[in-house]
Subunit: 360 residues, 2 copies
């Protein structure tokens, strides 16, 4: 920058002003500076600017694992959303490690990023205090409610209820669940199970514990195992609600291994609407939680908090729930021809302010 200034016959600060688009610059000066920049092939040193301005133009995204399709697609969406707002994304894999999630919240990337979007998998309501950080933060997911940070979450209960109602409407009565977490009252598992329960109760059907299949990690393998256990138990089953798509794919695998026809004998529904379920055999009906909206809202909320950083006004914490919808496919016999799909129902989202819960 010094060299450019010398060559253009102006001060260093003027070069800085030109580069940053400061308006009050005589056109002739601007041209001279730009010419000098071009001739010398000058490029701004981003690190120095970061140091001086205390901004980096990067945000961190902490997700469990990219090898899980849901998070890979989420990361994809967040990166695109950030890009349109001029931000770069740094991805941190927490790998199902509680300590890694704590590290990230403790500000592992505080200096190199302007803010953090985290999708916690291991932290619990008891850890609410950890979310009281001094940098812009947006929380994703259903594990943590009431943290002192903006929150983007899915329409879990409503969507799960709609899924169950849909299966009931199709005449299914013995609806198994794959992926329950016994004893949990928060998290996707609990909320989706709640929707399931509500739908059954509304229909006057008792929840049969024999139909509730546990699965700790929500992977394809655990989905297959859990489905296998349910089938081997001898319980009568005519439909399966897998609490996410990975498990639905695993469950499908287990059903296939036992020569059970889907949807002929057993109907199957997943959750997340990842790309995979559109190409499995048969294709799987799933809940589309509004991934683009989740990513877009998360980035927007974070950008707003980053902008807020300079002043001293703090907007109230905000919770965003995007619209979700059930995409009917072959596994529920919802489509006339193979490969087709149709929106079976839509659950409307919402946006609201909330008060953080006190942390212990």
């Amino acid at each position: 920058m010094h060299d450019v200034a010398a060559r253009a016959g102006v001060s260093v600060k003027t070069v800085s002003n030109v580069v940053n688009g400061y308006p009050h610059i005589r056109p002739s000066t601007r041209d001279r500076v730009e010419a000098a920049i071009a001739e010398l092939g000058y490029r701004m040193n981003v690190t120095a600017r970061n140091l001086r301005t205390r901004r980096t133009g990067m945000i961190a995204l902490a997700v469990p694992e990219l090898s899980l399709p849901y998070f890979a697609e989420l990361a994809d969406s967040v990166i695109r959303a950030a890009e349109t707002r001029g931000l770069t994304v740094l991805i941190e894999q927490t790998s199902g490690s509680r300590q890694r999630e704590i590290d990230v919240l403790a500000g592992r990337h505080r200096d190199t990023t302007d803010g953090l979007i985290i999708s916690p998998l291991e932290l619990e309501p008891d850890d609410l205090g950890l979310f009281d950080v001094d940098f812009p933060l947006v929380v994703l997911g259903e594990r943590i409610f009431g943290a002192p940070a903006d929150h983007v979450t899915m329409n879990n209960v409503a969507a799960a209820r709609a899924v169950t109602e849909h299966l009931l409407a199709l005449g299914r009565r013995r609806i198994a669940v794959v992926g329950a977490h016994a004893g949990e009252s928060v998290g996707s598992a609990a909320l989706r199970l709640q929707g399931y329960t509500e739908a059954l109760e509304a229909a006057g059907i008792d929840v049969d514990p024999a139909l509730i299949g546990e699965a700790g990690l929500w992977h394809r393998s655990t989905g297959a195992e859990t489905m296998g256990r349910l089938l081997d138990s001898g319980t009568e089953i005519d439909a399966v609600f897998a609490l996410n798509d990975a498990m639905a794919l695993g469950a499908l695998h287990a059903l296939h291994a036992r020569d059970i026809d889907v949807p002929g004998q057993i109907a199957l529904v997943g959750f997340d609407d990842v790309d995979d379920v559109r190409y499995s055999v048969p294709t799987i009906t799933s809940v589309s939680p509004g991934r683009e909206q989740i990513a877009g809202s998360a980035v927007d909320l974070l950008v707003a908090r980053i902008a807020e950083r300079d002043g001293d006004e703090r907007a109230p914490f905000r919770r965003v729930v995007p619209d979700s919808s059930i995409i009917g496919r072959e596994s529920t016999g919802d489509v006339p021809r193979r490969g087709e799909e149709r929106v079976v129902s839509v659950q409307h989202g919402s946006t609201e302010d909330f008060e953080p819960l006190p942390s212990s």
Copy 2:
């Protein structure tokens, strides 16, 4: 850092030395400094250090899209490999845009990262000049050979040949290909097709153009379409070699839609060994290109180049080809029981120095 120094009664530089583990420090001094750090809750400003040292501890990874499972899994592996070496990874999605790949090579993240690992999808041998950059660079993939940078690539020809030989050994004679790129002489498509051709010729079988299915983008959807076209063409087919797993899954979908039994009527093999093919119905035999090794080698090569930056010695450019193997599964009838898998064959990799090709 000033405050810490004052509190500990030492100079700022001494604090710096303590933080950076400089050995010649009296234990008592070290203790005082560490106590002061703890009391004040001091944390080093990474940006300032980056500016001063011209190192960031971050590397960039440029891949087409995270929503493609192969790249999501690759990113996962690279992140883990980098982590064990104390590096953080910045992911750049090039989204199948030529311009984005050029931007990254032009040094979009030059200041914020210490080096770049790029997996080009759009750049061609004509663009070789773009790879002559002044920062540490490692190239992945089969599109670019001879660039002035270290290169990690798969054992494409050998693996494809082995796949084809395996299908021949199983008695298949009408082996279709899904995903060919007509007219290309570089890239995964050309190399894998070459392996296919070599195997057929070695077996004294003519290559039938009617069996070669084109597919531009290697997605599930294109795999399904291409498979559909091949089947509708009426050509006799008893095996399919999909040039990647995404297309294999799409092809499986198309086969299922026509009630064709796999492997009864048609055997199916993919390439990449992504997690998906272990849970499809049936499970799909695939080439495992050694993803962990690719990621590990790429990071190692980059780390070596980064270390080289200070001195003026330059090691010759290096090409690493990891071992690959064929994992036999249900789609080729290679396993006795459902869900099992076995290594059908292994192709050994190599490491060699090479001279870059002249760029036009």
